[in-house]
Symmetry: C2
Subunit: 240 residues, 2 copies
DNA sequence: TACAGTCTTATATAAGACAAAAGATACACA
DNA sequence: TGTGTATCTTTTGTCTTATATAAGACTGTA
C-alpha cells in the first residue's frame, strides 16, 4: 500500500477493494480473502482492513458472516430491491423487471440541465416494466448520457434481467449511488394509463430519482409510475 | 461498567449513553464529555467508547466534529425532518407542523391488530397539519396506545411544537425507531380534501408508518396525506 | 490591534492481542 | 457402519494502546 498520500490507510484499502470488486476479482456471493490475508496483501493490520470493510458493508457492497467470511453483495438496482406490500399485511414481494425498450434521443432543455449536459446531447431512453405476481404495477423511464454509456444495447440489458446498476458497474466501470428519491401522487396520463392498465386521471405514485456516480456527477435520471390501489411501495433499506 | 454480562462492552456503553441522553443529561446540541472522559467513567478504553458513539452517530442520535466534540442531535420526528422540494429544483424546505387535535378513542379491529392490542383498547388519535411557506400541504393522523402514553395532553404536544418523537422521549422515556415507510397514491376523500383544500378524488400522496420502540413493539401508527402538485416529498436521510 | 506561533483538548486512525462463532475433522462408541 | 461429540482451524468480532490530525484558545510580538 502506497504511503505517499496523506489519505488514511483504510480509505486506500476501501479504494483497492472496491476496484477489485468492480474488476470482478470475486463474484457475487463469493467470499473475499480473509481479513488477515487482505491485511498482508495491502501491508496493513487486520484492524485497518476491518475498518475499510465496515464501510463497504455499510454501503451494501459487501456482507459478512461471523466465523465464515466476507462476501460480495449482489448489486441489484433500486427498484429491483424495493418491496411491494399488500395494504393490510406484512412481508411483501420484490418486483420482476421487464425491459420495454431502449432508444436514442436528444436532450431537451430540462433533461440537459438535470444531467448537466449541453442541449441536444445524445441520450439513451430506457423503459422498464415492473410486475408483481404477474400483474403490471409499475413503469419506469430512465435517461442516460450516451457519452458515458456508449453502445448501450438492449441485449446486454436484457441479459442482466434489467439490472441496470449491475450493467453500469460491469460494462462501464461505473458505480452508482442512488440519489435522493422524491415521491408524488399524480393523475395518470394516457401513456401511463395504457401501459399500467388503469383509467386516465387515476392516482399514480410517482418516483423521481437522480443517480450519481461517486464523483457526484449526475448519470441516470429516472421517473417511475406505480399503481397503488392494492400494493404500497416500500423503499429498499439503506441506500448507500 | 459491569463486566458480568456476556454483552460486548461497546453495547453496554451504547446503552449507558443512550440512557443518559434520554435522561437529558446533555441537552440538544450540547457537547458530551470527551471520549476519554467517557472511557474513564465507564472503565473502558477510548476506542471502545468510540465504537459505541460510532453507532449512535450512525443512528443520528449524536453528531461529531473533529477536534471539537460530540453532540446530541436534535431529535425531531420523521415528518418534521422530511423535505418538500419544488418540482424542478434543488434544495427544498422543511415543513412547519401544527397540532390539530388529540382525542381519546377505542381501537377497532384493524388498529388493534396493527398495534398489537386487544380490541377496544384506549388509543390517542392525534392529528397534525403540515405547512410549507404558509400553505397547507399535508395532514397526518396518528394512533398511540393510551396504556403507554398516559395523560397525553394537547398542551404538552403543543409546547414541543408538534415534535411527537421528542415528547415520547422526554415525557415517556420511550425512544422510537422510525419503521419502514410505505407510499401510495390515493384519491382524496372528502375529509382530507377539505383540510388540504383540494378537490375530492384529486391524487394525494399517502404515507403509512409504524414506529416501534427499541424492543420492536409497535407504538405509533401513522397515516399521512400530502398534496404534491407543486412539491415532491423527500424522506429524511438515514432512518436509524 | 493584528498576526503568527504553540499549547491544549478533542476526535480520527492504526496496530496488535485476544475472544467468539461456525464449519470441518477426528474419534469414541453403539 | 453409522452417529454423536469433542476438538481443531479458520474466520469475523471485540478491546486496548499508541499515535496522528483538527480546531480553537492562548500568548507573545510587532
Amino acid at each position: 500500500m502506497s504511503k505517499l498520500a496523506a489519505i488514511p490507510l483504510y480509505r486506500q484499502v476501501i479504494r483497492e477493494v472496491t476496484t477489485a470488486v468492480d474488476a470482478g476479482e470475486w463474484n457475487a456471493d463469493e467470499s473475499l480473502p480473509s481479513e488477515n490475508d487482505l491485511a498482508r496483501r495491502f501491508g496493513v493490520s487486520q484492524g485497518t482492513v476491518r475498518k475499510a470493510l465496515d464501510v463497504l458493508v455499510l454501503e451494501g457492497v459487501l456482507y459478512r458472516r461471523q466465523g465464515v467470511g466476507t462476501f460480495v453483495s449482489d448489486a441489484s438496482d433500486f427498484l429491483a430491491q424495493a418491496m411491494f406490500v399488500p395494504l393490510s399485511g406484512y412481508g411483501g414481494e420484490k418486483p420482476k423487471i421487464e425491459m420495454l425498450g431502449c432508444v436514442r434521443i436528444h436532450a431537451g432543455e430540462q433533461l440537459a440541465e438535470i444531467l448537466g449536459l449541453r442541449r441536444g446531447a445524445a441520450l439513451w431512453q430506457v423503459r422498464r416494466l415492473l410486475r408483481v405476481a404477474g400483474t403490471v404495477i409499475g413503469l419506469e423511464e430512465m435517461f442516460l448520457p450516451e457519452a458515458n454509456f456508449p453502445n448501450l444495447e438492449m441485449r446486454r440489458i436484457r441479459e442482466l434481467r434489467g439490472n441496470l446498476r449491475e450493467l453500469c458497474w460491469r460494462d462501464f466501470g461505473m458505480r452508482l449511488k442512488d440519489g435522493e428519491v422524491r415521491y408524488r401522487a399524480v393523475p395518470a396520463a394516457s401513456a401511463e394509463a395504457r401501459l399500467l392498465q388503469v383509467e386516465v386521471h387515476e392516482p399514480l405514485l410517482q418516483l423521481v430519482r437522480l443517480a450519481r456516480d461517486f464523483d457526484g456527477k449526475p448519470q441516470v435520471w429516472s421517473v417511475a409510475w406505480f399503481r397503488s390501489e392494492q400494493l404500497a411501495f416500500q423503499a429498499p433499506p439503506e441506500q448507500a
